[in-house]
């Protein structure tokens, strides 16, 4: 492996957070193209047999253990007892991820529920963080964290599918409206009460 590859491996190993191309370039006195090449080389060397892999994640590059080793890793570092996320938590995360920075009242209005507890829980678990209040005052706004990006395997805060992809299509939205208009007017035959 090249000397630059070795240097990058050492840096990714030591760094407690993902390192950007720029940070890697600064520390190794190499340019971005050379860094990219060395990252590829490093990934190839690891891919064959290693427990580790090179990943682009959360705004930078990191070494991490491969997914198939989760079992033995958990024996070293116990996972938090409840690692799952409720639908409420996932929907709140989705709202923040697409609209950040966004305040609790704004999330509440969109979701139709009060989200104080859910937001606090997500802050506690490190998926959301406070992001200041708007000029002129107002509610604290929130954004997603690097931990969120790591846990969801996102390369950065913009590594989300465009929201348009999730929108109801015109016909879907129309169908919804039509169904609602018909509600209460169900066909007598199907209506068994």
């Amino acid at each position: 492996m090249s000397e630059l590859g070795r240097q990058i491996e050492a840096l990714l190993f030591l760094s407690p957070e993902p390192l950007s191309l720029r940070a890697l370039a600064e520390m190794t006195d190499a340019d971005a193209t050379e860094i990219s090449g060395a990252l590829t080389e490093l990934d190839e060397r690891h891919s064959a047999v290693s427990a580790l892999e090179v990943a682009e994640i959360a705004g930078g590059w990191a070494l991490r253990t491969r997914a198939d080793l989760a079992g033995v890793c958990d024996r070293l570092r116990e996972r938090p007892p409840d690692d799952r996320l409720s639908p409420a938590a996932l929907e709140t995360l989705a709202v923040v991820a697409y609209l950040e920075p966004v305040s609790r009242p704004e999330i509440s209005r969109l979701r139709g529920v009060q989200v104080d507890g859910t937001v606090s829980m997500l802050v506690e678990r490190g998926f959301l963080q406070e992001d200041g209040r708007p000029e002129g005052g107002g509610a604290m706004r929130y954004r997603t964290t690097r931990t969120f990006q790591e846990r969801f395997g996102l390369k950065g805060s913009s590594d989300l599918p465009p929201i348009e992809r999730f929108e109801l299509t015109g016909p879907e939205a129309d169908a919804l409206k039509a169904r609602l208009s018909q509600a209460g007017h169900m066909d007598e035959d199907t209506d068994v009460g």
Binding site: L14, A88, L90, R111, V113, G117, L168, L176
Partner: protein, 242 residues
């Protein structure tokens, strides 16, 4: 990747996360009969003191208005009334607003499903979290561990035998010296001390002197020295030698 269908949410009252879930279920899963829904319980749970997420009050009231209108329509139909007219204006307005909000919110519900897939897919990977300070690389060695072994080895070695070379290279013993002096005295009237010890070491010289003094003490010889540090004449006592 298949998009989650907000129109196909599971029907499970425990899973209602908010008014929109309930609304969707009511509207789009016709097999749920309005009268089978424990509406009062739902509302109480949603607005009560201990829900995880209390319903937003304005959303909840719009939903209740709509549900009441739907329930009324249905009740009238059940008792055989011909029901052609639309629900009242409040209910219509609530319906419009709810649909608009539902349409606006649907993308986030679908995005949440997408996030859930990512969450599961990335469950296995783990990142190193060792603080930088702990991950000390091996410092460049400045000392050779062989020096440690060397230092200990010195302590563990047996001490060398003390050298006797500075003392004498030959056996020197008093009886042999006495006999040698006696033999010399039988051959002549007197012998010179210096002649006897010529070419001998310091030790042998000293011991020869002691042997001479011993012969004098035993009365076998007399010693005579002309001047200090000069030669010593050793003369056998008459009749003493055998």
């Amino acid at each position: 990747m298949a998009l989650a269908q907000p129109l196909q949410l599971p029907v499970d009252l425990d899973l209602f996360q908010g008014p929109f879930d309930l609304l969707l279920t009511l509207l789009l899963r016709e097999e749920i009969d309005l009268f089978e829904l424990p509406l009062a319980d739902l509302v109480e749970d949603a607005l009560g003191p201990t829900p995880i997420e209390r319903w937003d009050l304005s959303t909840a009231s719009e939903l209740v208005v709509l549900l009441a209108a739907l329930a009324e329509l249905k009740a009238r139909r059940l008792v055989g009334e011909q029901v052609d007219e639309e629900p009242d204006a409040d209910a219509l307005e609530a319906r419009e607003r709810l649909v608009a909000r539902l349409v606006a919110y649907a993308p986030f519900q679908r995005a949440a499903t997408w996030l859930l897939e990512r969450f599961s897919a990335n469950e296995g990977t783990r990142y190193r979290r060792a603080p930088l300070g702990l991950a000390t690389p091996a410092p460049a060695p400045t000392e050779d561990p062989a020096r440690l072994a060397g230092a200990l080895n010195l302590l563990l070695m047996a001490p060398p035998e003390p050298s006797l070379s500075h003392l004498t290279s030959r056996e020197v013993n008093m009886p042999a010296l006495l006999n040698r002096l006696r033999n010399a005295l039988t051959r002549g009237r007197s012998v010179s001390f210096e002649a006897i010890v010529a070419g001998k070491g310091v030790l042998e010289e000293a011991m020869t002197l002691i042997a001479a003094l011993e012969l004098a003490r035993r009365g076998e010889a007399t010693l005579h020295q002309e001047q200090a540090f000069g030669d010593i004449d050793i003369t056998p006592t008459r009749g003493a030698s055998a």
